[in-house]
Every structure is written in C-alpha cells, then in structure tokens.
C-alpha cells in the first residue's frame, strides 16, 4: 500500500469513526441556553446600572452648560471655553446695546479737512460713551485696550451678578471684532471700511448693525470720502431725537459743510 493510499484509508477511517459517534446533544443544548440566559441577564444588569449614571451625567452637563457652572464638577482646565485667548475677544451675550468703544484720543474724532485760508474749525469731540449697565464689551481684557491709546479706555461695567454665559464668538462677532480693531486700534481706516462694509452686508439682523453703519461713516470721513460720508451720516442725523448718534452725526455733517437747513 502506498503512503497516499494509507493516508486516504486513514481519512476514511476517521470519517467513519466519527460518523458513528452521534450523540443526542440535549445536554449541550441546555448548557448553550443557560449560558445565553446568563449573558442576557448580565447585559440587562449592566444597562440598568449604566442608564441612570449616564442620564445623571448628561443632566449635570446640561445644567452646567446652561448655568455656566462647569467648575462645580470639572477642574478649571477642563471647563469649556475657559481658555483665554489673548488675541481673540469674547463678546458677552447680552441684550442689544451699543458696543463700548473706549474713548481714545482721536478715535472717531473727526478732523474735517480744513479748507485753505479758513480759520481752523474746532475739532468736534465725540462724546464719551456712557458705559452700558450691562457689559457688551470685550470682557477678557482687564488691561487698557491698547498701548497706542493716549487716554485710558472707558471703564467697562462689571457684569451683573448672574453672570451671562460666555460663549464662543460667532462669525459675525469676529467680523465686528476685526473691523473694530482696524478702526480703533490699528487706525487703518481703509481696512476698517472694508470690514464695516462686510458687517453691514449681514443686514439689520446683525447684532451691531446700526453701530457698524455709524462707524463706517466715520471711516469714510477719515478717508476723506466726504460725499459718501455725508450720505452715510444723513440717516443718523435725520433720525428722531434721542436716536443713536443723532447729535454727533448732525455735528459731523455741519463740519463737512452740510448746511443746517439741509438736515431737518
């Protein structure tokens, strides 16, 4: 018998031997079912323990998010949004208020071009902005706004006791921040104008739409684009009394050479 034949016979023998050893398998079935029932029970117990824990955790997280009390159960470094980014400014979410633009010498102080051979026109000074009762300002800058400013910024009112939620700036807020920085910090009025224009294009639903329109007008004045500046200031000057920047706009129009009669 050749080795291959031997191997084939052995395989046949193994096949026949094992075919003959048939069991009913009831005991194995019972063990299988018992094992599965134990697993199912363990899974149910685990779920019964995990669901309440999970619910509690997410409930607490939601409460902390709403009230801003992350520090109640998280270490400070894990508190979302706690990191102060020096270059970015976080804007408080408050009621709609005009932004507190720190008074800086020359900020918005428009020096209309003095016509030749005319007596110098006193520079109109923009009135100091009254700090709002609720802060809309850039809040994580306790130091004076910029080293470039000659006068310290207007004090920012302390936030109310029920601290409003600090949130990440939206794209619109970021746009406003950039425009503000260009206008009042860098004094780059050309860049500021571009940024104000972009913000104004967001439309009246933008939070600081009115303020952006006014600042845009100021940027136009600084750039010497008087015709456009007059057009931009007119709505403010002709608004009802006590409207935003009405008095300032009327002053500026006068200095730009618009007769008082033309400004009802």
């Amino acid at each position: 018998m050749s080795p291959d034949d031997l191997l084939d016979r052995a395989a046949q023998s193994l096949r026949d031997q094992t075919r003959d050893s048939i069991r009913s398998g009831d005991r194995t079935l019972a063990q299988v079912l018992a094992s599965l029932r134990v697993r199912r029970r363990r899974r149910r117990i685990l779920l019964a323990a995990l669901i309440p824990v999970g619910t509690l955790f997410f409930g607490l997280a939601g409460w902390a998010m709403v009230t801003g009390r992350w520090s109640t159960f998280l270490p400070p470094q894990l508190v979302p949004g706690s990191q102060v980014v020096p270059t970015k400014e976080v804007v408080h979410r408050t009621r709609r208020r005009p932004p507190v633009i720190p008074a800086q010498s020359g900020t918005g102080a428009v020096v209309p071009p003095a016509p030749a051979n005319t007596p110098p026109v006193p520079e109109p000074s923009l009135p100091q902005l009254a700090p709002p009762t609720k802060s809309v300002a850039i809040i994580d800058r306790p130091e004076p706004r910029s080293a470039k400013t000659a006068t310290p910024p207007a004090p920012v009112a302390a936030p109310p006791a029920a601290a409003p939620t600090v949130r990440e700036p939206s794209a619109a807020d970021e746009l406003y921040r950039q425009a503000h920085e260009a206008h009042f910090v860098s004094r780059d009025y050309a860049a500021a104008l571009v940024a104000w224009n972009r913000y104004v294009m967001l439309g009246p639903k933008a939070r600081f739409f009115i303020e952006a329109r006014y600042n845009r007008a100021i940027a136009l004045v600084h750039l010497g684009r008087n015709a456009e500046a007059i057009e931009a200031l007119r709505p403010f000057a002709t608004a009802p009394p006590d409207s935003y920047r009405r008095a300032e706009a009327r002053d500026l129009l006068r200095h730009l050479g618009v007769p008082a009669a033309a400004v009802p």
């Binding site: 291959d4 395989a11 031997q17 599965l36």
Partner: protein, 207 residues
Amino acid sequence: MRMAAIGVPSLVNALPLSSSDATDEIALAARLAAGDESTLRDVYRSHHSALRVFARRLVGDDMSAEDLVQEVFVRLPKAARRFRGEASLRSFLIGIAVNHARHHVRSAVRRRALADRLGQSSPAQDCRPDLEHERRSLSEALSRALDTLPLDERVAFVLCAVEERTSAEAAVLVGTRDSTIRSRLLKARQKLRLQLIAWVDPEGEAQ
C-alpha cells in the same frame, strides 16, 4: 434520515444557496440575532450533529468537540448578524467552528499528551486482523498525526480529505483563497504521510 444526511457530505455545502433558501435562512439568522430561543433550538436540532461530526474530526476527541459545538451555538446569536445568505447556515456554523477551533484543538492535544504520559494512550496496534479494530487504530493514529500540524493545515486536511469538500468550498468556509487551501492541503498530506508510515512501521523494517 439524519444518518444519511450526515453521511452525505454534499449536503454540507459551501456553495451559494438558491434565492428562496437563502431568504429563509436570512430570516432565520435575523431571529437568531434577535435572541429568539425557539429559533436557536430549531437550528441546534437541525445542525448540531453535522457540526459535532466536523468538530470531532477537527479536534480529535469527543470532549473537546462537544466544547467546540457548545461554543459555536453560544456565539451564534451575535455572529448571526453577519450572516448574509451567501452560503448555507450549516456552512456558516462550520466557519464559526473553524474560527474558534484553536483553543479546543490545543486542549485536545494537551489531553492526549497527558494521557500518553500517564500510559493511558490507545492500545498499540495489535495483530488482530479485525477490520473494525484496524479502522479504529488508523483513525486514532491519524488524529494523533493531525496534532503535529499547524491549525490551518489541520483544518484544510479535515475539510478536504476527511469531509470530502472541494478546495473551493473549504476556502469559503475558512475565508481564504482556493490556492491557499490547496497549498495547505498539500503540505498537510506530505507531513501526515510520513507520520503514518512511521506508525505502520515504527522500526522502518517494511519495504
């Protein structure tokens, strides 16, 4: 009927089913995955014998084979989620057995080695010309020879030579290529031939 079914390896095929059979088995698998105990009982009763036979041939002893069968059916509800009906449910069960055989083969090999050390091994070949006895001895010798093979070669040999499946069917069960199965089978046969020759003629006297 059951004996006939087990004795005809072609019923245990790894080839694609007809679409209606596949649909039925997919539905069955879905119920298994959902944890339906009565479906599990039905599947067990339909397939445990064939699975046990395969397991016995693969691992080489009844106890380990029974453990392997139990493990396959315990894992079946979870594994059933992967069943797509490309092959029969029986083939799917055998595939699970192949994937989880390693531990049981090792266990069986250890048991046999321990039995040998304790002098409880199967009686050596004796002179009785009894065919039944010869068959039993040869079967035992082959089981021990299989212990010397790596698991993948052992699986290939049992599926193709013992269970008489084609290499294509075996490749589907194992999840590899046809050529790989044939290569493993060839290596297994070469090694087993030498083992069996040594068993038949321990002193090398036969020509």
